[in-house]
Symmetry: C2
Subunit: 248 residues, 2 copies
């Protein structure tokens, strides 16, 4: 009943069109850990976005009036603000220099997931078009490469309401049950547990972040010991529908 | 650069006045894993609350008018609602059967952390009076018992805005840096990273939850491999001050 979490060796720079599954399989093969059935590969969104071309060249962006105003108020590049607005389907908060929006996927996060870190100057990454599809493709590639079923989480680091600091969460999920539903099961006194649904995929993503944080340049970690939760389900199940959400 | 996470063997029932540190030390000593310097003990709030007497007998609670109304609207025991209101210093949302409030500690969570699961019928637990002090005491006891410095997180499972499912978070922290601040460090292109503060203690709590979830009745897990983050700091650093929060 243990979990073991470790980073895979550093990948080469990921460029547009790169086969991320093949890159990961290659470095894992050169490592000593091997792959076991049910291993969960947690892959940073950044390399998925780069490979998929989810990258915007700022030279080609013309900021709108509101992007220019928000940029000048906050000291941010108005072209980056424009990309954020394009990636957003609703603005949740725009206050005190912070722009929190809902992406077209339904994720609620700062700057719609647009990020300039670890990208060449003059470019920003945006979130993958369909992180679950990205996870599906990676799972297919990695399961084939190692001849055993594995699961994949495409993760990103999001801030939270009410709490300081960001944590890694699961954007895309494949081959894993993202939510564990304990409603209706009994507690130690035989009474039904109420409203206990655990976001397993987010907890796995958070655990992996600790390891990738420790190993700079390692955008992929493997969680071993979670094979019992292999299954169907996607990251979109972790997105609370706006109609059920009290905070947007 | 690995993390290894495992549950400690099941504890006996924790009653008021129990020495939780001694109980944990006892079962860990009987296990085969030992303790290493820098091990992080993640301890469920529930057993801390029970030991500290942070338990309310519902027979002694007289519900107020609003507790009675909310209880009858939502089908909840009005005495439990009354305890929730007593534990709250502000109500953040009270809508669609969901009551989210800010506790006197500043935590924002459903039902102010009041919980009837795994408690004897007729009782509910409330959050520990000062989870950081609880973590400090446990750290002192466990470091002394094993003759090496360890860290302690007192954790609970909280829901989130915008995302389905709950995750474990750190209420009380001792012996560990709860937030890792990467602002001002450079990315792979030599540009400064902005606003990258990671809630390490929450990620560790989340990782531990996966293991305790697997081993029913195990309210304590050990995270091994995080010794580099030994340090000062408390769980209260993870609570965003209301003046900086856009969602309450």
């Amino acid at each position: 009943m243990d979990l073991h979490i470790f980073g895979v060796p550093a990948l080469p720079q990921v460029v547009r069109g790169a086969d991320v599954g093949a890159l990961i399989a290659d470095v894992v093969r050169r490592g000593a850990r091997g792959v076991e059935p049910g291993d969960v590969f947690v892959v940073a969104q950044k390399i998925v976005s780069k490979a998929e071309g989810a990258v915007v060249r700022l030279d080609e962006v013309v900021p709108s009036a509101i992007a220019t105003r928000w940029g000048s108020e906050t000291g941010k590049d108005p072209r980056v603000v424009e990309v954020i607005l394009r990636e957003s389907r609703r603005i949740v908060r725009m206050d005190r220099g912070i722009l929190i929006s809902e992406t077209r996927h339904g994720f609620v996060c700062a700057n719609a997931g647009v990020d300039a870190s670890n990208v060449a100057p003059g470019f920003v990454t945006v979130l993958p078009d369909d992180p679950d599809a990205s996870a599906d493709r990676l799972r297919g590639a990695l399961s084939a490469a190692f001849g055993c079923p594995v699961a994949v989480i495409v993760s990103d680091t999001f801030g939270r309401a009410w709490r300081e600091g960001a944590v890694n969460v699961a954007l895309g999920v494949s081959g894993l049950t993202p939510l564990l539903d304990y409603r209706g099961t009994a507690d130690s006194h035989g009474r039904p547990l109420t409203s206990t649904v655990i976001a397993l995929a987010d907890e796995l993503a958070a655990a992996a972040e600790i390891v990738t944080r420790k190993s700079a340049g390692t955008p992929v970690a493997i969680v071993r010991g979670a094979a019992e939760w292999a299954g169907d389900g996607h990251g979109r199940m972790l997105v609370r529908d706006a109609s059920r959400d009290l905070f947007r």
